[in-house]
């Protein structure tokens, strides 16, 4: 093999080289392009940050792009990463070149198959965008905890440090895997590399053909299973032979380092880029050395070069081939002069003697020393350190800090860097001001608002410069974890050399603030260097803008001598017909001001880019953007900077002074972007956080907000029930509550008899002006119109700033009015329910989100006694991503207890909660019974026989339990002490298992099915958007036929799974399909029935989503049409009806005027296909219509089916819980 390779190297060296082709891509694209070219099958599943690799592979195949062998690879989405690994395993065993892409828990789900794939010596490469594994919290960001968890599988592991290497190593891994027969994990750092835009040298097909040995591919195929040459695989072995068989693979592992080296040499001969198993950089006689792998290596290399240049004896080793770890090669790379060595791991293994790479190095050195005649005569001082967990910054200042530590006689071992550990004092101190940014690298930072086009414009600028000049570019984009009013920060570098600065820009020559409102709250000039250019998008002109800047900003401008320019980008974009997209405007200004390339050349390049980006969407769009370019240049103005800052205006603090201590200390810092500075002691040790924190984060992101016109209001409360953010509310109160009201606080006498027993009271509709996202859904659903001007309703969208002061005061007063007596509200009536306090408020979901109104409604019903198991997805992000959470508590401190386990196991997680609560309730009942003589028999009887099927019943039980608690506290007995921790379980607790369709239909379906079959009292709410919303709209098994989604680019060819029908097949599961916009009363009824059914319940709630391609302010209208067209029938299947001999299934809506096709035509997810493949679109639409007709027909028949005599469904109720099937709620037909 060695000889062959050398010959290949020689041959390659002789070949004439093609011209270099540069491309500007991110790490995901860099890897996926090679993977698609060199594979025949890809089994995929979305998980951040690897999803774009799968999406690209799918898109390339959808476009018909061929691999090296002239075939279009099959790309198939699976139900989970476990499924993807299984499918990949099967495909590999059947002889196809197969790959997959994953990260984090996804990789962990693949582990069982990965052991098998390695055990069977199978050539494959899995591409991993390395991501933090969830522990005390989920994190989508990058570290090596996932790949480290997979290191015992027996796979070779190759680490790419940057975008170029992600491209190159994808190929090297593929080639080496075929030669070695060992599977390879090719990994690079999530986000830092996977999402970093870089100009790289592209590999040609010729390069790939040279590296991938086709003869070995044929051998791989020949090893595939075939009935023509049958063999037996996957046997079960016994103590007699398993061990020996396990050792049989050793020669293959021993060969890998040599093979990878040869492939790297061959690669170098072909491309000129030479990699080694361990790349040493630095002084040949280095005394201090650090060892690491991944994106941090580039930052370290930059630092080492700088330190060596000033004469320091330092060096570093970049680990490329991590597994198998080649001790001898490693030792040869480490200078014998090394006196102190730090091994850096981007992972944490609590309880270990050290992190993995540290242990490997330690072993290698120890073994070397143990031989007595190895490379080293004495053990260098060896320390291990952790850095960069969850994409924590890792920059030259930290690298320098580590080298400084290594200079000490006794450097700290098992240190951390980049944080302040004031608890166990692991962290190293370092000089934060140390900086390496060279003067010839242009650095620009852009602050933008999500969806305003800032990130797109930054990417475009980078691409323009990359293609128009010889400069190297790097773009990195920091996003918000909030979906509404999200902020983005784009960090762009341009320079004459490849850019190795794998960290955020700290000193920029150009700073742009694309959203004027940021200046109110953020320090956007923190990164501005002295003399930098500052570009502001502002509604105020060059003369007025200065006076609108907070004094802190004014002072920074003066101190740093910034050159300030202003443009009214929103006006220009609007005038050019571009709506709110200011990307073209701001991009033009950047080029006009930055002089990165000559202005004329830049403008030409921008125009070319416009044609490229928008050409496919139409000429008008192109022309509008071109128009915006010239308008921008005409309207860009310099601002005269006075000598003194004078404005009384100050930046607004992140949370009000009234917020609790934890929120002031911790949450506020995170909101302000100072989270990096929080010490270890500030953070909860177990990841448990307080709820109800979103209310402190007054974000003020809406342009316009709904303002109430009480004269028109009919008090239906529809505005409140549909509000996705709980930002428009209603409350009923007594006149006496209004004594201290602001003068602007208008109210109406409670009208009518419905909604509850509130005669003689008053009510009001109130907006939360700083929490509203301005989505407008409330106004869309308001049915009350002016008689004289129909467009004027009882609430109307009005500019926020016109009402801010007044409504702030009103809202504060409104919140403080005592909450309504819950037992007085009519819970079967929307108006009544909306008087109840929502314990889910101000979520950061997308404006107009279709999911959140359901969650808010749930909390209004059951919030003070509900436990939530939440699947990973949108719900867990807007529900539980720091800094704040919308899940809240009432004034008694009661509210939903919320937790997220994983994506795949949520039903089991919630079922487990049910088991614990049932067991605790049983314990409590047993103990109460025992304590009856001490606390009074009557109270105990009342508690044990309480009817808790109504609000009033629960209220009374709470009072009894409170009374009991007081009595028990006085009893000195073991039983009393045992009872107290579980005493509250005597009040009925409601378990809610919540997630999206990706969880329920796909990855979590097995567990969901089991929870449904358990007979236990769990309530499952599926907020069904018919795609994986959180990861960007990939198809799920809920996606209907004919819809276009990621992974179903050419339209989904198969029909939607009928999950409700599957659940109904158990007979004892309450099932409902609801759509709030179609019937809020039906939704309400279903929620109450589901909760009151003492067995499993499943609610499928239609949820509109941006991925539907609709105007989100019209979400409720889409829901209405979905039901009316038969696309989403409303129904309830209630086992209680079967017990009464009635048909358990009730089809609850009627089909009206609109056809399913009419409905589908209003959504871009269905219409997109008719734009690209009209014939297929037509065919699929016809089939989809048929699906809908058939389902409707089936449901109509079902609604007529009465149960067979004597077949009452059995409910295996939870032990000890109040077990009697409750009477049907009122309103039952």
């Amino acid at each position: 093999m060695t000889v062959e390779t050398s010959e290949a190297v020689a041959r390659t060296a002789e070949k004439p080289k093609a011209a270099k082709k540069w491309i500007t891509v991110d790490g995901n694209e860099a890897a996926a392009r090679v993977a698609h070219k060199t594979n025949e099958v890809a089994a995929i599943f979305p998980i951040s940050p690897s999803s774009p690799m799968a999406e690209l592979a799918d898109a390339l195949s959808a476009k018909g792009e061929k691999n090296l062998w002239g075939d279009v690879p099959i790309v198939l989405q699976m139900q989970s990463e476990a499924g993807a690994a299984g499918a990949a395993h099967g495909s590999l065993q059947a002889g196809a070149l197969t790959t997959t892409f994953t990260a984090s828990q996804g990789l962990l789900l693949m582990i069982p198959n990965m052991f098998k794939i390695a055990g069977e010596l199978t050539s494959t490469v899995f591409h991993v965008a390395a991501r933090t594994v969830a522990t005390h919290a989920l994190s989508i960001f990058g570290d090596h905890s996932d790949v480290m968890a997979a290191r015992s599988c027996g796979w070779a592991m190759l680490a790419a440090n940057n975008v170029q290497e992600a491209h190159d190593f994808a190929l090297i891994a593929q080639a080496a895997s075929l030669r070695s027969r060992l599977p390879f994990i090719h990994f690079f750092d999530g986000f830092r590399t996977s999402h970093e835009l870089h100009k790289i040298e592209a590999l040609s097909d010729d390069d790939m053909r040279t590296l991938v040995d086709f003869e070995l591919v044929r051998k791989h195929r020949a090893r595939g299973m075939s009935p023509d040459r049958p063999d037996l695989r996957g046997t079960a072995q016994n103590p007699d032979v398993f061990f020996q068989a396990r050792e049989a693979c050793n020669p293959y592992y021993l060969a890998v380092p040599i093979i990878v080296k040869e492939v790297m040499d061959l690669f170098a001969a072909q491309t000129g880029r030479q990699y080694k198993l361990f790349d040493y950089v630095g002084a040949p006689d280095a005394e201090r050395v650090i060892i690491l792998m991944g994106s941090g290596a580039d930052a370290a290399e930059e630092t080492v070069e700088a330190l060596v240049a000033r004469g320091e004896k330092v060096g570093m080793i970049k680990v490329r081939l991590y597994r198998p770890f080649a001790n001898d090669v490693f030792l040869a790379a480490l200078p014998a002069t090394a006196r102190s060595v730090a091994v850096l791991d981007r992972t944490k293994e609590p309880g270990a003697t050290g992190e993995p790479l540290y242990q490997d190095v330690l072993t290698a050195l120890a073994e070397d020393l143990a031989t007595g005649n190895g490379r080293f005569e004495r053990m260098p001082t060896l320390v291990g350190g952790r850095y960069g967990l969850s994409s924590k910054e890792f920059n030259p200042a930290m690298v320098k800090g580590i080298f400084d530590e290594l200079s000490k006689a006794k450097p700290k071992n098992h240190f951390t860097i980049g944080i302040v550990d004031d608890v166990t004092h692991t962290s190293l101190a370092y000089d934060k001001e140390y900086d390496l940014e060279p003067p010839d690298v242009v650095r620009a930072v852009f602050y933008g608002l999500g969806s305003d086009g800032t990130v797109g414009a930054s990417k475009n600028s980078a691409s323009i410069i990359a293609s128009a000049t010889k400069m190297h570019v790097q773009g990195y984009f920091v996003y918000d974890s909030r979906k509404a009013g999200a902020e983005t920060v784009s960090h762009i570098r341009f320079g004459p050399r490849p850019i190795k600065s794998t960290y955020l820009i700290r000193r920029a020559q150009f700073v742009a603030c694309h959203a004027f409102q940021f200046l109110e709250r953020k320090d956007v000039l923190a990164e501005a260097m002295d003399g930098a250019t500052f570009l502001i998008n502002s509604p105020f002109g060059p003369d007025e803008v200065w006076g609108r800047l907070p004094i802190e900003t004014q002072q920074q401008i003066i101190d740093k001598k910034l050159k300030v320019h202003v443009i009214n980008a929103y006006r220009i974009a609007r005038e050019a017909g571009l709506g709110m997209r200011i990307n073209t405007v701001m991009q033009t200004c950047f080029f006009a001001l930055s002089n990165v390339i000559p202005k004329d050349q830049a403008m030409e390049a921008i125009k070319k880019a416009i044609h490229k980006s928008y050409g496919r969407l139409g000429e008008k769009v192109v022309n509008r953007n071109l128009d915006a370019v010239s308008r921008s240049l005409e309207n860009l103005h310099e601002v005269k900077v006075p000598a003194k800052a004078t404005n009384p205006l100050r930046r607004i603090p992140p949370v009000p002074a009234t917020a609790p201590d934890f929120v002031q200390r911790v949450t506020a810092a995170i909101i302000e972007g100072r989270g990096d500075q929080l010490p270890v002691s500030a953070l909860p040790v177990d990841g448990f956080f307080p709820t109800g924190t979103a209310r402190f984060e007054k974000r003020g992101i809406a342009d316009s907000i709904p303002i109430w016109d009480k004269d028109l209001c009919i008090q239906c409360a529809k505005c409140a029930i549909v509000c996705p953010h709980a930002a428009i509310r209603t409350k009923v109160f007594d006149e006496k509550d209004l004594e201290a009201k602001p003068g602007t606080f208008e109210t109406l006498p409670w009208r009518g008899s419905s909604g509850g027993d509130f005669k003689g009271k008053f009510m009001r509709i109130q907006v939360a002006p700083d929490d509203c996202t301005g989505c407008g859904i409330c106004v869309e659903v308001c049915p009350a119109r002016s008689k004289t001007e129909v467009k004027h309703k009882a609430i109307n969208m009005t500019p926020r700033l016109d009402h801010l002061e007044v409504e702030r005061k009103n809202f504060d007063f409104f919140v403080d009015i005592p909450e309504v007596d819950r037992s007085k509200a009519d819970l079967m009536n929307v108006k009544g329910i909306m008087q109840l306090e929502p314990l889910f408020e101000f979520s950061s979901a997308c404006p107009g989100c279709g999911e959140t109104p359901y969650l808010k409604l749930l909390t209004q019903f059951f919030g003070d006694r509900m436990v939530v198991a939440n699947a990973t997805g949108c719900t867990s992000i807007y529900g539980g991503n720091l800094p704040t959470t919308p899940w809240g508590a009432n004034k008694h401190g009661r509210g939903p207890a919320w937790s997220n386990s994983l994506f795949e196991d949520n039903a089991e997680f919630g079922l487990g909660m049910r088991l614990a609560l049932d067991q605790q309730a049983a314990q409590a009942r047993r103990l109460v019974e025992k304590l009856a003589p001490r606390v009074g028999d009557n109270l105990v009887r009342a508690i044990l026989t309480a009817d808790q099927t109504s609000e009033a019943g629960i209220h009374e039980q709470r009072q009894r339990v409170a009374e009991l608690k007081k009595l028990v506290e006085k009893v000195d007995s073991e039983d009393a002490r045992e009872l107290l921790p579980v005493i509250d379980d005597l009040v009925k607790h409601s378990v809610w298992i919540i997630g999206g369709d990706g969880w329920a239909y796909d990855i979590g379906f097995g567990g969901l099915d089991h929870a449904l079959a358990s007979g236990r009292d769990v309530n499952i709410l599926v907020v069904d958007t018919e795609v994986y919303s959180n990861t960007g709209g990939q198809a799920s098994k809920s996606t209907p036929r004919a819809a276009v989604a990621k992974f179903a680019q050419a339209g989904k060819r198969t029909g939607k799974k009928d999950l409700g029908m599957i659940a109904m097949s158990y007979g004892d599961v309450y099932v409902a399909q609801v759509a709030m916009g179609a019937s809020d009363a039906h939704t309400v009824k279903a929620f109450l029935e589901a909760e009151s059914w003492p067995g499993p319940s499943l609610i499928l709630a239609y949820s509109t989503c941006v991925a539907h391609g609709i105007d989100m302010s019209k979400g409720m209208e889409h829901m209405r049409d979905a039901a009316a067209s038969g696309y989403w029938p409303l129904y309830r299947y209630d086992p209680r009806r079967a017990l009464k001999g009635e048909p358990p299934f009730s089809l609850d809506n009627q089909r009206k005027k609109i056809t399913a096709r009419d409905f589908m035509q209003k959504e871009a997810r269905f219409m997109m296909l008719s734009r690209s493949q009209p014939e297929i679109a037509e065919q699929l639409a016809t089939q989809a219509q048929r699906d809908i007709e058939e389902r409707w027909h089936l449901y109509e028949q079902m609604a007529k089916i009465v149960p067979a005599p004597m077949t009452a469904p059995a409910v295996s109720s939870a032990a000890g819980a109040s077990t009697a099937a409750p009477p049907a709620p009122e309103g039952e037909e």
Partner: protein, 335 residues
């Protein structure tokens, strides 16, 4: 007696006076072929709506942009489909295919009001193979500052721009609502129009009494709408120097004959063909033929405008616009 049904329109020779008007009939090639077989002499395709194209593009951009580049885990929400069909491409492709499939002239129809748009799309229709273009612009002047002249100027300028952009003939389909139609017609002719089509059917607004929404609706024409077309054909005939085509109210042979006699050189039919099918053309033509035979007029071209205001015995009848008793003439006072 063999009747000659041939006529001319916009310099094109027509084998019969019946032209398929701009309508959904032009969407399917099969239907157009049947219409040609049934005797239609030319087809005006459905309109390319400038505003629709713009709206469509803007909507697609908006939907694809919504929510993008804002959140770590989802930088977009819909797949990035590269081969979208937006803009006039589909329309122009259909025009070319229609032209290739039919023997009779194919006329492109363009609906819009922007000067640049008319010139650009007209040029592209010519390139796609159109034998002529019918401009079908109508805008509702809601601005109180806009006077009648300014409204007319806007049409005239757009027509001039479109006519200047192409070498094929251009007809203008006008609405029945102008202050001084004859004067306006002459201005259009001077601006380059080779023909006028009378009249457009504009969408009517409607109010939903349940939802209190305003919507628009369209309905098929009937023979009872013939009168206004007759009036203005008759009045314009001989007073403007371009071809006149009738387009509203022709349902049966008698309607076609009346329109020809009033001054049309060709008659566009749409509603009647939608109702009765393409073969209806044949029966209408038979009726026309029969009448010509009966009246011993062997040529359609000869009867065109024979009862126009300038040629009829009762020119004042075309001017009666109000209900009054028929004016009885007691004395002869003609030349």
């Amino acid at each position: 007696m063999k009747v000659d049904l041939t006529t001319r329109w916009l310099g094109l020779k027509l084998r019969t006076p019946i032209v398929v008007g701009s309508s959904p009939l032009g969407e399917k090639l099969d239907t157009l072929k049947r219409l040609e077989e049934a005797g239609a002499a030319a087809v005006v395709l459905p309109s390319l709506y400038e505003i629709e194209l713009e709206h469509d593009e803007a909507e697609i951009v908006h939907v694809l942009d919504q929510g993008t580049e804002a959140f770590d885990e989802a930088t977009s929400y819909l797949p990035d489909i590269q081969d979208f069909h937006t803009g006039p491409k589909d329309y122009l492709d259909r025009l070319t295919k229609t032209k290739q499939a039919l023997g009779v002239p194919v006329i492109g129809s363009l609906c819009g009001m922007s000067k640049a748009g008319w010139a650009d799309y007209a040029r592209r229709m010519q390139e796609a193979g159109a034998d002529a273009i019918e401009l079908n612009g109508y805008f509702v002047p809601t601005d109180p500052e806009l006077d009648a002249k300014a409204v007319e100027d806007r049409y005239v300028e757009s027509v001039a721009t479109a006519c200047g952009a192409v070498s094929i003939p251009v007809a203008v389909k006008i609405a029945p609502y102008f202050t001084a139609p004859v004067h306006f017609a002459r201005r259009l002719q001077k601006a380059g129009a080779k023909g006028l089509t009378l009249f457009q059917r504009v969408l009517d607004p409607d109010i939903d009494l349940e939802e209190l929404h305003v919507g628009v609706d369209t309905h098929l024409s009937g023979s009872d709408e013939l009168g206004n077309t007759l009036r203005w054909l008759a009045i314009l005939h001989g007073r403007v120097g371009c071809d006149l085509a009738a387009s509203t109210g022709a349902h049966k042979a008698a309607d076609v004959l009346k329109l020809l006699l009033a001054g049309a050189c060709s008659v566009q039919m749409a509603s009647a063909l939608i109702k009765n099918g393409p073969e209806h053309v044949t029966s209408v033509l038979k009726g026309v033929e029969l009448w010509l035979e009966e009246h011993e007029d062997p040529q359609v071209a000869e009867v065109e405008g024979s009862l126009s205001q300038l040629h009829c015995e009762e020119p004042q009848e075309y001017e009666h616009a109000q209900h009054h008793k028929k004016l009885i003439r007691y004395t002869h006072h003609g030349e």
